[in-house]
Symmetry: C3
Subunit: 264 residues, 3 copies
């Protein structure tokens, strides 16, 4: 391999002085690491990435200092991803290629952000959230834990564009928003809810509800949905899906019982 | 900082001979500036940008010469933006990361083009237009001044894809098109009009109209819309929004009176 | 020109040892070519491209070897495109800027994939397919020959996100899917069919049908569509469009007769 030699920092990478790089970190060719970036042990930063991209004030204010960018252990960033200064990412953070994440956001552990996602900043994201390709997360959005968002979904934030004031959407634990849907400003999608593809979500979605359409209307609950092959329930998805989840290999129920007992 | 030292041209940048670089221009690392590019004074070109990207003829015709790319003063291009040969941008032009703008387009002053926008070429854009992230502007589109277009909007141009003939959409001064809407070929969105999120606009939109839905239907005028908090009008937005506008600090009315009097 | 000197391999490009580069290939600056990539004669790889991007196993398995990436003759890849290891592309393959194509896919000859397209892998694509900008092709999608897909279309694959099992969409020869449409998992779009803009396609589309809406409903056949200017039929498009097609200059009918006679 070349351009990305595991465990090494490519000589073509530009690394600022005030950077804290953990043990066994890989940094690929042509990366830029600006001031005040911390990279956790075992992380792999693919080629052409930019870490600590300065915010607008950099260009205007001679006293500008980059806010810290903190990346946890064992991150894996695909080529060309750009993380702005002033955000924070838990352990096991993964991105696809050419992701952009702006300033002021906080991500929990084990989040995966797909190719070309665009997180606009000042967002709050829990643990084990999965954004598929090309998701647009407006400023001030809030995601719980184990949230799934599929390609080309937009979480908006301006009720009267461009006037504001901005108010983010909120997506609760275990909810899933299917492809090409828009969640309007301030809308709250409840725990375990499912938003169907190509929907426009104007009103709050109750927990476990299934909504579809433009504008979206509730058509039932997640318990009404059966698998095509066997006619068995497929939701809540956490009882039927394990890959990459902390309950992989033992199932959600067992994991959750252990967790409640303080064992996981 | 590194990879982007204000006021300097990074030694890793590839600069052609026939390039005209104004005073106090910054060019970041790994940029490519092809033939016949002019960059106005005070501009900042972020890392990994490509200016004057050759058009298809370059690969086929040995006598090819790059058409001029003209960038006004005080531009700010975020990392990885690609501007093709043969377009023209007024002063104060800004892009987010990884914008693509193809040949044959003309942008006025103080336009801002968000992350991942894709302008297909042969477009005519006025002054102070704002394209948020990931807007797709089809060939031959025409935008007035002070137009706002929000994420994932597509301005189309082919009434019978892929047969053509192409006919661009036209968006008039002060109009706003909300996220995930499609404007069909040749459609004319009137001055001050508002297109709601997730709409399919098949017919012309009158000035000051509000349209929503798929297909879009008029539900009122912008004067019917009241702010959530105070119940007061929020449109026309120019009377309620100032950031980045030429009337910042004095308000639209005062600015407009001064402008009419030849003072602004 | 600079950064992309036709017929040369830029010295800044990182080329692995086990790479097979045909005659008269161009590789632009800052490209990375990983192990086991084959590039056909006459191909042009623009700056900042990555060929043979390793799959996830690379980061986990010390015995990992890159699966072969095979690119046919006369390819033209625009700047910043990323092709993963383990896919195969016929002759005359073209991409716009910053395309991503993942592992396990097979493309026929003369396909053109627009700016920012995201092909998720394990897809089967025929000859002369055209994906316009920013198309998202889910894993396990299948496209025939001469298929057109327009900006921001999503071909999905998970009937019960994120549970699966995945089942791709299938688009037959000569079909066209207009902008911002979603094709649901396992849906089959028939030969010569047309999906209108901003549609949600939940059911199979018969050959030659025209469907529109969310959810999409059939409104007629392609023979009902007349050109705006002359009132003449415009579909099937292959009888009215030639640019870049193998029948350019002679028309579809003549080409097809020759083809049937074994002459084309």
């Amino acid at each position: 391999m070349n351009g990305l030699e595991l465990g090494t920092i490519d000589p073509s990478a530009r690394i600022s002085r005030n950077v804290d790089i953990g043990q066994n970190v890989t940094i690929g060719c042509n990366c830029i690491v600006y001031d005040n970036v911390r990279i956790g042990a075992g992380s792999v930063i693919g080629p052409h990435c930019i870490l600590g991209e300065p915010t607008m004030a950099f260009y205007r204010d001679r006293t500008y200092e980059n806010a810290p960018l903190v990346i946890g252990a064992d991150a894996l960033l695909r080529a060309g991803s750009v993380l702005y200064a002033g955000s924070e990412f838990g352990d096991g953070f993964q991105t696809g290629g050419r992701v952009s994440i702006r300033e002021g956001s906080k991500f929990g552990h084990h989040c995966r952000i797909g190719t070309l996602c665009d997180v606009q900043g000042f967002c709050d994201v829990g643990d084990y959230c999965n954004l598929h390709s090309n998701v647009h997360v407006g400023q001030m959005s809030s995601l719980g834990n184990f949230v799934w968002i599929f390609p080309y979904v937009v979480l908006t934030n301006d009720p009267n564009p461009p006037v504001g004031p901005l108010v983010g959407a909120r997506i609760d634990d275990f909810a899933a928003v299917a492809t090409m849907s828009v969640v309007l400003p301030g809308v709250h999608v409840g725990r375990d809810a499912l938003v169907g593809a190509h929907s426009l979500v104007r009103k709050d979605v109750p927990p476990e509800a299934v909504v579809v359409g433009s504008p979206a209307r509730q058509i039932g609950t997640i318990h009404d949905i059966k698998g095509r092959s066997d006619g068995q329930p497929v939701y809540p998805w956490r009882e039927h899906f394990e890959r990459g989840m902390p309950w992989e290999g033992i199932g959600y129920q067992t994991w959750n019982e252990r967790r409640k007992a303080g064992l996981a």
